[in-house]
Amino acid sequence: MVKPDDVKTSLDEGRNTAALQQATLLLKKDKTNPEAKALKGLALVRLNRDDEADEIVKELRSMTIEDDDSIQTVMMCYREHGAYRDIRNVYETRYKKNPDDLELAAQYFMSMVRVGDLDVLPKVAMDMHRKSKSNTYYFWAVMIQYIQGRTKRAAGDAAGGTIHLTMALRLLERAVDDESFEMSREGLRLYTMVLQEMDKFEDILALLDKDAGAGYGPKRLLPEGREVTQMKINCYKRLNRHADIIATSTPTIQDGSDDWTAYTNVMDAAVALNEAGDSSFTFAQVDGLLSAAFGKATTQDKPQRAPLLACLEWHARMRARGDAAHTPAVPAPLEAFVALFKATGAKRCMFFDTKPYVSLMDDATQRKFLDECSAWMEADGAEEPESKRVLRSSLLALYRRFMGRHHDDDADTDALHRDLVEKFNAAKPCGADLKPSELQYSDTYALLAAHVAVDAFARTDDRAHVDRAIKLLEDAITASSSNPQLRLLIVKLLCLQGRVYEAVPHWEALQVKQIQYDSIGYVFFDHAARLGAYDTALSLLEGAATFTRSCEVDVPEFLCRSFLYGSFHKYEEFVRCQEKLHRSLQLASVVCERFLLNFVRTKFTRARVTSWLQFIVSTLPPPSALDDEKTFSDNSQAEVMDSSDPQARSPTSGDFERMKTARFNYFRVRYLLVQTVASLVLSRQSLAERAEALVDAIARGAVLTAAEEACAAAVASPDQPDLETIHAVIEVLSLVSFTVSIVQEWISGDAVLKQPNGEPVRVNKTVRQTVRALAEAFHAVVVNKDQAMARVQGVLSTAEEAAKTPSYKSSLKAFRAAFKSSNH
């Protein structure tokens, strides 16, 4: 006979399927047993079956639960399902019955913090403070007033916000005036937060001074260090006390420190003084300070980077101010670049450090820089170890590419590629003793040669160049397995070619997980399912779904921890983090893709599909949210791949925005598809008729519109389509293919969607033919682009003819209107 403890043991041991079976058996004996229900809910949550867990939670919500064991289990189920509002309701009931129970009060307080119900919390916290005499609860009350003040101000209620902030300040002043009140480090930080929000920066400085003199107790609460210095600098900035900023930062610069903020603080302050007409610290004095730091650095064996880079930063700032600005009397960009090369040219960071400043040199100066560095390597640098010489040489090769030398009209790409491959092969031996965890000295040459090969492909449309690039990168990886840039580039090139299965091991070697699903999952997510790697895609989606669920459950908990540990400044950061995850475009995509892939790959019961769709519809924002791209937060890190392309060819912020828009549009199509399936499945009436209309709409509306645009762009182009265009076509057509695969499932009757009498859903014959032809065309694109283009065009022409028939027109018009209204 199964007992609740048996289920708990199974859960503890991670045997979730067994736990589910045991809980189901328990419920067979007593359908109204809340503990058994909660245990079943826990098992479902841990099996990633959130939709079914949601049903359990709804049932538990309507039950009256009295015994403590059941309450604890139910609370655990609520927590793991992220049903924090239900937890709040339970604690509220219990707290009202036992208002003097301090532990319960604290739990009630935290349950309210998790869901953002703050109104009654100052009173609860002050009650706890009075009963316990603990100052911790006093600060909780202050913090709640602070949060409410900030929230009201952000909502435009300035007066309401000020009331709360004033209340917070009074509480703090009262505490400080009370000699028996022991101020804490956390309390003092909270004090500075409140003062800052009220623009009382002089008061913050006074507070820090008082603390420095041990004015808040036997010893200083905030010791001298980075935190206090930064607090003071922030205050000086807000108070326009630029001279104080300069006085604070100058000694750091004179010491030749690497602390970049000291340099930028002085530059900011000097500019602010200049704009105010104050000559107490002139640009000439900045020149003197920076020149001295530069001079000192160049005489050291191991100089810091900051003094050298600061000269370039100062040049850049002055140049950005316009013609009338000051001409810095600090070492010229060429001199600074050469000095940096001598000091840090054998470090990989120099390229990334200096990229923003290369444009300070005109074309002739850039050539001079390359020549001077090469000459120095032949003279002073000749005695350096071979590894350093390889790093320096490959750095110069990077600069050549970045300065456009690889893209000169007269550049011989084949010769360039051969040269880089030769250098790569020649450099390999000098890294023979490096550990597998270290990057090989020759890696830069492999990456550059691969890019040159891709350039050649873009120019000639000969895929052999891409194959060559992939082969070279794979060769490089055998010796440098820990270099993520090599793997990222291989994954991208293989996916662009539709060779997604070959990309899988490289992607897996990157071990992307947890938060990385959200930030860089796109590198592979965007291709895996679309190009047919369903199993890998499903595995990724399951991992991402587990991550999403754990975030929903765990992140609110840390809102409470910011109170528990007194890290009050982290509260709003955690709120923003929660918001960012909640609005994540990538994680919303996971919800859609996971359903769609499972839907076509697995035979589910209609009840399971119904429950899943109901959960998705209730979880994702409504379709109206698609009208605004800003509803979702694209959390991808586009810069994860290094680029040494010339500035004119490098992705700009506008390119990144367009990539995000493209990703959003793809999501929109997929989301509409899920909504369409949902309305099909969840509708209780005339299923067959609705199916036909919706299939028409999908096939003729969203999908073909997107396909038409991409294909038209590629086919109509007078030039050979470049790699990116082909990529776009493959992507869109794979979208078509995948969408079509679902439609075909319906057509063939293999899917769960059947009419109530068991017969397959009837579909318009022309639609059937169109989608089948498109699916075939897609596969042909991957195999043979040129032939496929013609076929796609033919299919689209046929479809266009079909679209003229009355039966298409109504659904097409409505769907296209909705689709196009959002930039499509």
């Binding site: 880079l309 938060i515 959200d518 840390f558 955690f574």
Partner: protein, 176 residues
């Protein structure tokens, strides 16, 4: 051109060029958020002038009595920014906080026995091998660990970093 600052939640979306290093673990969100909530001053990131994350250190303060100490949980630097002394700077920051703010007696850390580069760096910073923990690392690459320590100003006699004189097993480690 390093800016040391407190690690923030937003950095979790930006740390990929550091964390794609195979020896750098990407933990679950709770792990990072716990450190951010409980020991925010111990979670420091080094940022370049162009805004790239170069590396970071995670740590905490724990122990009781004269075992009250700072602990280095993770220290990592992106491949492009290695051999610039960044790890030293980050360690210095953690030691400063452990010494001045929390008044700990020492700082400790665990390092793979085979990681000669890291062991050499820590020794250069004044750390000594306090003891070996047999089988400390499990998983794909199981290995012993060295527990290394450096006394802070409060441990005037440097008592807390004197080698223990015997190896231990993970179950013998203190539960702070």
């Amino acid at each position: 051109m390093t800016t040391l600052r407190e690690f923030t939640c937003d950095d979790l979306w930006k740390f990929n060029k550091v964390n794609l290093d195979p020896l750098t673990e990407t933990y679950n969100m709770s792990f990072y958020l716990l450190y951010l909530a409980q020991w925010p001053e111990y979670f420091t990131v080094a940022e370049s002038s162009s805004g790239n994350l170069m590396g970071y250190i995670m740590g905490k303060v724990e122990g009781t009595g004269d075992d009250w100490h700072g602990h280095v949980t993770a220290l990592t630097v992106a491949p492009e920014y290695r051999r610039l002394g960044l790890a030293n700077q980050l360690m210095g920051e953690l030691e400063h906080i452990s010494d001045k703010q929390h008044e700990g007696y020492f700082v400790d850390l665990f390092v793979r026995k085979s990681n000669d580069v890291a062991i050499g760096m820590y020794k250069g910073l004044g750390y000594d091998i306090y003891r070996k923990v047999i089988g400390y690392y499990s998983g794909e690459y199981p290995e012993d660990a060295y527990d290394m320590r450096k006394s802070l100003s409060r441990d005037t006699g440097k008592v807390k970093m004197k080698p223990l004189g015997r190896d231990i097993y993970p179950h013998e480690l203190e539960r702070w």
